[in-house]
Symmetry: C2
């Protein structure tokens, strides 16, 4: 579905969304333990997210990672795009160049609107939206 790295990325971002703020930054190693993501690898993923302004970071004492208000408005799909590239979820299921809405391949056709909606949801929903769902008890994040 999505890569392991993207799962790590989404988990880490949600963890930050729930537990950090500009005045309460969190160290990579302190995200690693509760989320069960290998420390050094998570650091790499966070680095990549930081480079693309999906998470915010500050070096040195009192530093760490956190989400700015802007970061919280980022759609989940963007996290996945940064880590997995653009086509993993959105391209035709058989990776056929010639396949599009006009000339759909059999899988494209089969999957139809369900996949379109699926992707649309990921594009429209932001980190903030997911946090709200968690806060309202609509969903849970068992890390």
């Amino acid at each position: 579905m999505i890569s392991n790295s993207s799962k790590y990325a989404v988990k880490a971002v949600l963890y930050l969304a729930l537990n950090s703020s500009e005045s309460h930054k969190i160290l990579a190693k302190d995200i690693s333990s509760p989320t069960n993501i290998p420390k050094a690898y998570l650091a790499k993923v966070l680095q990549e997210l930081s480079r693309h302004n999906i998470v915010s970071s500050v070096k040195g004492p009192g530093g760490g990672f956190y989400l700015s208000e802007d970061n919280k408005k980022i759609p989940i799909m963007k996290i996945i795009h940064v880590i997995d590239g653009d086509n993993r979820l959105t391209s035709c299921m058989l990776s056929l160049q010639e396949c599009d809405e006009e000339n759909p391949c059999p899988m494209h056709d089969l999957v139809g609107n369900t996949k379109v909606n699926f992707v649309k949801n990921l594009e429209q929903n932001t980190v903030e939206d997911l946090v709200e769902d968690i806060r309202e008890g609509k969903s849970f994040l068992p890390l």
Copy 2:
């Protein structure tokens, strides 16, 4: 979304569905060219599919691969399951053990019914169904 190997598998099965029969078997190498799948690797994939009775095969002169009537009734999802394992598409997007319908994770909740329908389509539609769509011009298979 699904692995390269699964894409190869689905392509090869569809190719067989469209071009082979018990009285007209096709060699692995003759599927390789039109589908642009590496010959030796395709052979491996077909071997695996054959072992799981998703395609039929006969050794020796006049032999090759083909789809029996039973093979054509196999749901697309089964092809994917044999190659990718059971959980790639169906498990929770974050691979959380504790996530289910009762206690959905935020992604689970987000994706909601769209993913369920997506998977359901793959489970319900058979090779035969896709072939029919192609024959009726509802979809195209540009290999």
